[in-house]
Amino acid sequence: MVSTDAARSRPGRAAHIERLRRFGLWIVLVVVVVVLAVASPTFRDVDNLLNVLQQNSIIGIVACGMAIMMISGGFDLSVGAIGASSSVLGAVVAQAGGGDAAIPAGIGIGLLIGAINGFFVARVRINAFVTTFAMASVVAGLLFVATTAQSTVASSPAIDLLGAGAVGPIPIVFLVFVAALLVVWLLLSRTKFGHYVYSVGGNAEASRLSGVPVQAVQLLAFVLGGGFAGLGGILLLGQTQVGQPSAAATWPLNAIAICVVGGVALTGGVGRIADVFAATLLLGVIANGLNQLDVSSYWQPAVTGVVILGAVILDQINRRRRSAAVRAVDTSTPTLAAAVATEESGVHPTLR
């Protein structure tokens, strides 16, 4: 086998950077947890740690949907409005004696609003910012009118169990979150739809030329995003026992923040669901840790902001290093011999 320098050096360096990318966020998470555990006895208390899982699972589920939309090249500012409508509708259904039918009702309204968003973005080609921003106001407005801004106190046993129950020590919402992660991971890595989510986000025009059903993919991404936000709304109802039209206002930006920290590109085409998981935990742990250390709550948004910026900067540096490692081989056409040699050397990292 002919082996050139190019064939040897490139997988070596790029793979190293690739490993850093893959596990970087988890390493940061472990370091932060260890530091906080040492610094604060209340933080390392098991009940507190379980509490972190309980409190961050819902936003994590919303972020799962957001990740699909962002990888496909869009994003959704109406997930908060969707969450509020879902929990209000769930409460209303439960109050009317519908019982557990509240669950499909809440998820259904999420899917529906997601479909409307998707229609405007994919079909009418209005950009995602404008569409979902407008959708958020419209839905929130309608919700206040329909409820005359009153909260509805009602729930069902199943909803309570999902939102606030536990299996042994483990909160059920966290199990739901893990299930959501698994579903999205399977969707993105093992289905054609997921593959097309990446291709549409990477280059929509090229995908269209290649025969990818671009509009259907974008539409479905928004439908799923809405569905996860609807599920989040139901779980919120389970935790609070009350459907509040003003709830969930912070979801859109928090979910986007989680995705960004998790390395999902705002420009689309890039992102891994495992990192969304790590990012959810990281942001949750930091918020909780600051609390335990009695840091004024005014500081928390600033710290979160710094974490987001830090993640983005790290990502940029990684990407630049990686393309430098690749450039070092050559940008111009390699000779066929070199290309064959690279082919034989086998191992090649991919971004995902």
Binding site: T191, A328, D330, T331, P334, E343, S345, H348
Partner: protein
């Protein structure tokens, strides 16, 4: 009578109220290679895209093997056996070579298995017998334009094809890669595949096609046999009455002079693994042609000179001062501009207008201070460039995404010209532009040199390079092997030098 693969009758296509194709009728037989030629903006790509199923709202009738077809989507076109290699790359960054080759036609309905994709592509490559030239799980972001072109070809052949349409497939290929492509075409036609071949290289057209269809302003001028059509006839049919004026070449004056000032000097620069201690002098008011085979490192030199790639050893000296350019932007603010080889990939703002794109590079240096940009100056600047480069349609508010491929190239060229650089480095100045415009771009570059700019040109078209340059440097495998005045070099000698033949008795000086 031979069997007709494709028949088109009365095809019309318009965008809004602007007709782009009017009443096109033609037919292509099985096993025939048909050239489609015409100026930039004549409507070639529009015809291709219609056949690819991208414009289902066309009027007229299209038949494949005698059956009328609807062509409602890329999928439906492909299921009729029509495969298309588009002028723009249809590759998705962040995905591997294999994923790109099968994009849009992965097996199965729901489930996607990466390992299966890879195996299928390996089998496919074996079956059609052309190598991609890169590992199948390399990211497409990491391969050069020639390999991207091969990926497109393999991708187009992934299904059974009865009609293969190639929109300027050779624009980015080296000579040997072109030869390979032509062999492949011959093999396909022997199996009865009909081929539509679009190119602005008319000698290529006359070598590899059986018949020629000429388009002008969206209308079909004529279809004739290649055997009795000379390159001059093709040009005159394409360009119509403007033929003579467009092709007029200015007599090449020799601007080279030993006492012209060196504006930018590269001293033994190395970069990456392909460039070893290259020295060059770019002189005020002269055009330097950098000759060499694909892979000789010319693109690397262009990028290293302009801050696009890092220099690992050696130095750049700009007007007597040593400089380090950390980025193309830093180079630009020092008056050194690059027009890169792979222009589409590096990107234009497709949604933005002609005027906005043209003024982008000039914004910082020339148009305004303190961030204010007077609109009038933007449009005056853009208007001048549109006229100079004959960009069509000439309306400044046209979104660049709707321009024909060749006209997009002109916008990119104009963008760099607008910055009025002291040093202009241009990699493949005329790839994808029609012969009329090519002469015009040559005129623009000459005038730029006459006005004092130092110009560095890299071109795979050796005739072009020879005609344009005042001085020539020849590169072989990452090093400059010959350097001297163009007037001391005849054309055949230049070809020899490029191919790396041992240098003997050249009048220019050799470098170690």
């Amino acid at each position: 009578m031979t069997h007709q693969r494709l028949e088109i009758e009365g095809l019309c296509k318009s965008f809004g109220s602007t007709p782009v194709l009017e009443d096109i009728s033609l037919s292509i037989a099985a096993g025939e290679v048909r050239a489609l030629i015409g100026q930039n903006g004549a409507g070639k790509s529009t015809l291709v895209k219609t056949l690819a199923g991208l414009y289902p709202d066309f009027d007229g009738v299209v038949r494949v093997d005698g059956r009328p077809v609807l062509l409602r989507s890329p999928r439906s076109a492909r299921s009729e056996g029509i495969a298309v290699i588009h002028q723009e790359f249809s590759l998705v960054p962040g995905m591997t070579v294999a994923e790109n080759i099968l994009l849009g036609r992965e097996p199965g309905r729901v489930v996607y298995r990466p390992s299966r994709i890879r195996r299928l592509v390996a089998e496919l490559v074996d079956r059609i017998g052309i190598s991609v030239g890169a590992a199948l799980d390399t990211l497409v972001d990491d391969v050069g334009p020639a390999i991207r072109q091969r990926i497109e070809i393999v991708k187009a052949l992934a299904d059974d094809v009865s009609l293969l349409i190639m929109d300027e497939p050779t624009a980015r290929l080296s000579k040997s890669e072109r030869a390979e492509l032509f062999d492949l075409m011959a093999e396909l036609t022997s199996r009865g595949v009909a081929i539509v071949f679009i190119s602005h290289y008319l000698d290529e057209v006359s070598d590899v096609t059986d018949s020629i269809t000429i388009l002008r302003n969206g209308r079909l001028v004529e279809t004739r046999s290649t055997a009795d059509t000379s390159v001059d006839t093709m040009a005159s049919l394409m360009l119509g009455v403007s033929f003579q004026r467009a092709l007029e070449q200015e007599e090449g004056v020799d601007r080279a002079s030993d006492d012209s000032e060196v504006v930018l000097r590269a001293e033994r620069i190395s970069s990456g693994e392909r460039l070893h201690g290259v020295s060059l002098n770019l002189r005020r008011g002269e055009i330097l042609g950098l000759a060499g085979l694909v892979g000789a490192g010319r693109t690397r030199v262009c990028r290293a000179l302009t801050g696009a790639d890092r220099i690992s050893s050696g130095a750049l000296v700009l007007q007597g001062r040593p400089v380090v350019f950390g980025s193309p932007r830093a180079a630009l603010s020092n008056g050194v501009a690059l027009i890169p080889e792979d222009r589409r990939w590096e990107g234009l703002g497709m949604e933005a207008t002609i005027a906005e794109n043209l003024s982008l590079m000039a914004l910082r240096s020339r148009l305004g201070r303190f961030g204010f940009v007077p609109r009038r100056r933007v449009s005056a600047l853009a208007q001048g460039l549109v006229e100079q480069l004959q960009i069509s349609p000439p309306a400044l508010d046209t979104p660049v995404g709707t321009l024909s491929g060749g006209n997009q190239q002109k916008v990119l060229l104009g963008k760099a010209l607008a910055a009025r650089p002291d040093v202009l480095v241009i990699d493949q100045p005329t790839a994808g532009v029609d012969i009329g415009t090519k002469a015009q771009i040559h005129r623009v570059l000459r005038r730029l040199a006459d006005a004092g700019t130092a110009v560095l040109v890299v071109s795979d078209d050796v005739e072009e390079l020879y005609a344009l340059s005042d001085r020539v440097d020849v590169m072989v495998r990452g090093a400059v092997t010959w350097s001297g005045r163009r007037s001391q070099l005849d054309y055949d000698r230049l070809l020899e030098l490029i191919s790396g033949a041992t240098v003997s008795g050249a009048k220019g000086h050799q470098q170690p």
